[in-house]
Symmetry: C2
Subunit: 334 residues, 2 copies
């Protein structure tokens, strides 16, 4: 394995010159540069990332903290994982995947050993105990999600509160006054997941403002129970004219449940939801929906972290990405 010393010897220059030719941090005459490049090619030299990290005190690696809530819907999260990885690459960072069951321990492990320059946290809770371990770390972190009372760590997320308002408005504007709201399983609320609470709260608020009566249905993580609770809501005969679905799993099952009841969308029932385009294209989900744009949010999170790594003193930001409603014609005025 060729080292920078081999290259220097082959090219007949000092190690420092090779280093500077590589980094461009100091001018190198074109003749020397030429010889160095030849040496690099001849010896198939690639710098040892670990040695570089040690000398620079910079690993060029971001930790991706994937502490997953047991009942969270896995497919949706995968998009965030992939997006973070790809954007990080674009910014010249590698991604270390940290899936320790205890996220706090995982963060400590990779930061204390200086394995990463910073961490990106997924599945943020309103009161997230991982925040403390980020603060205790030498390296900065960014939350892909919003925690309450946090003005110490950068965070970014889709504006789920606004998304909730937009969805209710979309229905209310078309005259709907009785709406079934299918939210996530209660376990996810108990786990304090931010996006779950924020959208729910804003839907309830906005419904109250608009005079919309809500039937709130908590999805069940188990398919059989899910079919039952959703079915019960659909069959309850209380004159609901629209469905607002947040739970991704419920969404996937919805076409079947509607079909079984001969319910046609939007003729018999208007439906709005929230899911990414890619997700909607994977399954058959032709519903008007808020686009949470996972790749946009993930990209922004990685950018924020890179910026803070570069400048630890910049002001803390909390960014909410404006949601976009994509009308796929699954609602009608009544």
């Amino acid at each position: 394995m060729a080292t920078i010393s081999d290259v220097a010897e082959y090219a007949g220059v000092a190690r420092s010159t090779v280093s500077h030719a590589l980094s461009g941090k100091r001018p190198v005459s074109s003749a020397t540069r030429e010889r160095i490049n030849e040496a690099i090619a001849a010896l198939r030299f690639t710098a040892n990332a670990g040695a570089k990290a040690l000398a620079l005190a910079k690993t060029s690696t971001m930790g991706l903290i994937v502490s997953y809530a047991p009942d969270e819907f896995a497919p949706a999260r995968m998009q965030y994982v992939l997006a973070v990885s790809e954007v990080a690459r674009d910014l010249e960072y590698d991604v270390l995947m940290v899936t320790d069951a205890d996220g706090t321990a995982g963060i400590r492990r990779v930061t204390e050993s200086n394995r990463v320059d910073g961490v990106v946290l997924l599945s943020i809770k309103r009161h997230d105990d991982r925040l403390a371990s980020v603060l205790a770390a030498r390296q900065p972190g960014v939350l892909l999600g919003i925690a309450e009372d946090n003005d110490v760590v950068d965070s970014v997320d889709t504006d789920f509160a606004e998304a909730g308002r937009m969805l209710v408005r979309h229905l209310a504007d078309q005259g709907h006054r009785r709406v079934i709201f299918v939210t996530f399983p209660e376990q996810l609320f108990a786990q304090d997941l931010g996006y779950v609470w924020r959208l729910r709260d804003s839907v309830i608020d906005e419904a109250a403002k608009r005079g919309v009566t809500l039937t709130i249905v908590y999805d069940d993580a188990k398919p059989a129970a899910r079919a039952e609770v959703l079915g019960k809501a659909l069959d309850d005969g209380s004159g609901n004219t629209a469905l607002l679905v947040h739970s991704a799993a419920a969404l996937v099952d919805l076409p079947l449940l509607l079909s079984e009841r001969g319910i046609s969308v939007p003729r018999d029932l208007s439906v709005v939801s929230l899911f990414g385009e890619e997700f909607g294209a994977m399954f058959s989900l032709p519903f008007t929906a808020i686009e949470p744009a996972p790749e946009v949010v993930a990209a922004r999170a990685v950018e924020l972290l890179a910026a803070r790594i570069a400048d630890p003193s910049r002001p803390i930001v909390r960014e909410l990405i404006e949601p976009v409603l994509i009308d796929r014609g699954s609602t009608r005025a009544i």
Copy 2:
């Protein structure tokens, strides 16, 4: 940030003694050990992973090469990613996620810079050009999947050929002679994905042996087109009595398609498939199916890689995990 020198000074011993106390590679008197432990606690010392890696020429990191085929079904793959990460942790390895669009370049990048001790490859093709870059690397690799004509790199996978035979047998034994076989979109065959080809070939062979007439349907990656091709097969009136579904996406849409046609399983149609229990529990998939056991295969892949890192000269293995058929009662004898 405390270093091993700080610890040594605090404890009044040499750096080498601290190092040996940490690694246990040399006896250390209990008195000294005591003082060292106090120093470590007082200074909150954790060894710098990069410096350790440089000194030991071992990163304790595995690269996870996630080159994803454009039309592959993402949710299923996530399970392999998570499983690899978790098992690697158990074996004291961190996982670097490599999602470069060009897998070959990704492998070269992380191996040449010595960022990893080895690589785990996902989504293996029958003729996988990433194999060459694994061979060119100083570090070993393992294929989570089977490539043809490969006796140079360890590999492990579910025995999809046997799975195909088992599924056909399960139907044939119950008297089914006309079966619709829903396989993956043609793009995935064009991409040469191993599991796609192997199961298809074995299903075709076994069907021929058992006198089963197959109607082969290639799924479409687009939901609308999928509904059409599947619908057409269900409606073709040629007396098919069973469905053998490999495509995971088709599987998720199946309940709706059956419901729309008033087809009851197994009364009107027997259904067998292949999907993991976790996957089946996420969606509503009450079908008799082969369990590909992603966590078992992923665990074995990581173990094989760790073993080869430890002993580069051990013989190359190709392991096929015996599939298990879980009967959920979605077939009946005719």
